[in-house]
Assembly symmetry: D2
């Protein structure tokens, strides 16, 4: 019961990294909406590896094939299934992982949970490759959201200790959103790119990897969406975002900084701005009592360093039941943060469309 | 569809701060288990206000009455409903909040969502008082978990800038858990108490409030629980924890610190310890690929400062549609962090029992 | 996870026949709607026993107390909890049922499922008394439906072999609906009453009981509601209706008769009637492909005879593990069909509001 | 949110009759179980058309391709996706159905619900062809059930007015189950076949169609499964079975006959049989209070006549907004009842595995 999300628009993700195919079923989409498939492919290209020198050399063919739910470019209202066939996979590299789990990966926990029957090749169902159907589904959902004036953009907030600027959470211009939505190394302040790439390259040269954070914003959402308690906007987005591999933290608005603030600093004053209620600051990230207040929803997610590193690591041999050492061969992406940006945008779109419902 | 949580053990929370009663229905509990109601009341007392000088003077009667689901001290398997009657409430203080929403509160968002029909008195369904039935439900769930060797403890990790020690996430002794579980100002390092209370008192004297963080740990959980993707342990716990008012961030293991680390630092090496696979460090907070690895689950939650402060604040008058000022009368708890500790423990118990199921 | 229903408007029923109280939490109701509580009580009175000579002499106090979710007569949008306190229960009669399960009752299956820890008194959570909160919840839902022009009425279709007329499924006048909604022995053709009461009396005199059928109709529902496959209108209603004790069959439109028909007979021809598409007949019961076609939804439910009879019956002694005989003392309702009518209406209202959602 | 079923083992069906492909995602299957794919194909062959002279001449290629969730013949625990590519479809026949809906079909209701954007070709998502992935999913589930000793068999209970014998609900031999499971015209009493085929042929010669009933039994299920109220066994099975096109009624045990019986007749007496509690009769269909009693689960489903008939029919022209006549060309299966048998078995397997959970 793991790989499904949503009550209004349900997505069901399937596939294993080196299996026959991966994909997604999206149930609950509104019939009659037109989808621009080129825009969908742009999002998938942002996530795909091999876009620049920091990315993994493994070549993936991420072209989705729609099996159902669309007639021409129009949603039929039936469940939309898209499949990405797997081609060009080499599975020889993964033979010993059932014995010697990679630290930081799901190898050990999957071994226990699935009693060693899971498909370990390439991480199987836990592979970052499974984010491709998420980006596909998100790209569909965000087009529907855009028709309602809702836009979603994320950027690399930090890689290692190199930081991008934050969003101004009270005002996020459309031009910035467009710029970020089209970028495969999405930054608010492009000056940060060089230092970030250097950080990644440094990690690579050290046979190591590096983590980072992604900041994401949702604009154009009206006040009054979301529910108190367990279906609050924070909780729904958090559950979605933690579905993305390697995410280990999430904070809304000022998040953990709020814990050090006084109420007089953290409270966002209300005021009228041209007949519309706005807040002076947006420390709450657009959410009060689990419900949108009409300001941009803003959150940050923490991404751990890629667990696949080329250094020798300590692990166990589950067959021999003894300590062991492991060296992971092949080339690996030393930093997944840039590629995580469109994934975070996508899963946020899926969360938001579930918070809104598909009715207007 | 907001105030329910769980698929295996469903809780449904009801009530409004100044209504006739608040409570919870718990569906899915295993028949035949004995409940120690005294232990339940201890947890409720930890959450109840008025325990010491930092707490709100408003007197609440938090004694729950079990309407169904128990026969004597034994669970019958039918839905358990517990009700806390409301007594001794003064509602006069809240008359103007439908016009002038309090910054940082849900007043404005609830006004929009419920079209001004919500019960605004005391925050209505958004009141912190609704955490009382959560603590009740959690106290039931944790007793069932303890029979399976699973324990949950939280502590005040920080108030403002005053910090407690962190858990050693590789080894959390039972004595520490017991100590924390019985405390209404739960700290690992008791030396922090004085400075924390001073921080709270300082906020109070400034007619202000202060936030903090709570760290929570779950011990004794076997490896292999949780699911990949959207039912990962992080996501399930996060959705539950964000159901608690004032929570604005959550991080598992090293959380946001991981974003600054290298993979060689963050990866937790495996080793055998007396026939059992353990990790050398526990930066992942006991969760890999959404699944428990047998180490303690550890996370921190960020709590914003109490939004109710006595200083004059800027807001809007929704009736007159103009800017306004607001002064909140009455005495308010300048720091809810100590009382949030048992609430976090409780909601974590509810999340964990849903991750495990109620079968052995 | 048993006693909850609905995804849009969730109801969670709790209580045991002889416990402290029974009730229901309704989550998802639209804030601001006014409820006529007198009308709610009318529906509860129709279900309550003791209304006439065919009913059980056990006196129940079915007055619900609303703990939350209403302010005055207006829904606040928070979960509505209503409790019916149990008073005047005698529990001495049920002492031996944990040993000797009553045939036709849930005693044996509950004994196994709950390992004998269930509250057997009065049938516990399986008691027909638990239909009182269902009627309460349904009475709320049907008022919301009526504002959208949707009405629900049921009648005793048969008791034993005595039949009432069927609805004309193409045209159900409002006057008939009103008449049925106010009756505690709801019939289309009142001439059937005498024979039906005789049938019940005959069963009683034979220390026996008798079953029957209830026919239910929903009018005013627009075409296009419901979903294909597993959320079809038939499936959603069926799941709700089978939640009522003693129901063993359901059929929509001509139901089982359709199995003997030819397509040329069963197909309902379309035609325009004043600009509106209607069908000439309504053999499909207003549902095609799981979706409403704008004609009345019509279905029949089969109710088994009350399993409590005064005759000596064969059973087993689960303690002694041997065959046994059982005599059930006390007076029992020899026919629950008349009282099932408002229950079927109520649960149908709950199902329909979930099919429609609470948006207009 | 329509085409998904199950909380423990979730199936998500996708596809449209004449689209690129149809299929199913099954989430929650236990890793490590071996699947005999030949047995799966036997079940799919039973459902496939063209098996004998009563079936549709349209040739379908029903070979499923597993994209994920299996490694060799073993379940990996990840979601299993199987796709059946569509080949050899002619879509020209359906061009006018968006204007003139076929009586008895979902054309009109889908037109309204999807605002004419649905894929009408071959009935789109409503097509009986979508039962192929259901049979696939059911064939997987039933293999898992068989390892736990649970078997499922159905037979043609009637076609028109020609009846097969009923199951003896107290004792259903394995040989009978095996016989039925392998048959594409499944009967208990093979003498009925000739008359049934004559009934079908007579309908065909009259340019008409005919309905029928299917009886289904589940053996080997232990007592104590299922839940009271809304997750009772009847309700869960009913919701699943009504997901199959053309089903309009369901009854458990004696079903509608119970409504005419006395309690002394309908109550199933308990007795010990070799240390095991059994019932003398099985009028309740193996279910009391929504919970299995250890006797076979037995139910009947009513199937309406195929709505596609070659006779001229009255309908409306939705474009011209006037009455119209319709003649459906092509050859159509005059009776789907024989092919419905494996579909009912399959969906029952899916329901039962959800009632049991996938734990042993």
């Amino acid at each position: 019961m793991s790989s499904t999300f949503g009550e209004k628009i349900k997505i069901s993700v399937f596939g294993e990294s080196h299996g026959n195919g991966i994909g997604v079923v999206i149930d609950g989409l509104t019939a009659g909406e037109k989808i621009d498939m080129d825009k969908v492919l742009v999002q998938m290209a942002r996530r795909a590896p091999g876009k620049d020198k920091t990315a993994t050399p493994r070549k993936e063919s991420d072209l989705p094939r729609v099996l159902s739910g669309m007639l021409g470019d129009t949603l039929t209202g039936a469940p939309l299934c898209a499949v990405i066939e797997n081609t060009n996979t080499k599975s020889g590299d993964y033979s010993n992982l059932l014995s010697c789990p990679r630290p930081g990966h799901s190898d050990y926990t999957a071994f226990i949970k699935y009693n060693a029957a899971n498909d370990i090749r390439g991480g199987g169902h836990f592979s970052g490759r499974l984010t491709a159907p998420i980006v596909f589904a998100g790209a569909i959902c965000r087009q529907l959201l855009e028709k309602r004036g809702i836009k979603i953009a994320a950027h690399i907030s930090s890689i290692g200790s190199v930081m991008d600027k934050d969003f101004d959470p009270t005002s996020i211009p459309d031009e910035l959103i467009e710029k970020l939505n089209g970028s495969s190394f999405a930054l608010i302040d492009d000056f940060a790119e060089e230092a970030m790439r250097a950080e990644v390259e440094d990690a690579r040269m050290s046979l190591d990897s590096v983590g980072g954070t992604v900041e994401c914003a949702v604009t154009g959402i009206e006040p009054g969406f979301g529910d108190p308690m367990f279906d609050g906007v924070e909780g729904v987005i958090a559950k979605a975002v933690f579905g993305v591999p390697a995410i280990k933290g999430i904070e809304f608005g000022k998040g953990f900084e709020l814990s050090k603030m006084r109420g007089s600093q953290s409270n966002d004053s209300f005021r009228y701005d041209g007949g519309r209620v706005v807040t002076e600051t947006n420390n709450c990230g657009g959410i009060l009592g689990g419900i949108t207040n009409g300001m941009p929803i803003v959150f940050k997610a923490a991404i751990k360093p890629t667990p696949s590193i080329s250094q020798k690591q300590k692990t166990v041999d589950l067959q021999k039941r003894e300590n062991a050492e492991l060296e992971i061969h092949g080339r690996h992406d030393p930093c997944i943060v840039p590629r995580a940006v469109p994934v975070i945008e996508a899963i946020t779109a899926i969360a938001i469309i579930n918070i809104l419902g598909n009715t207007e």
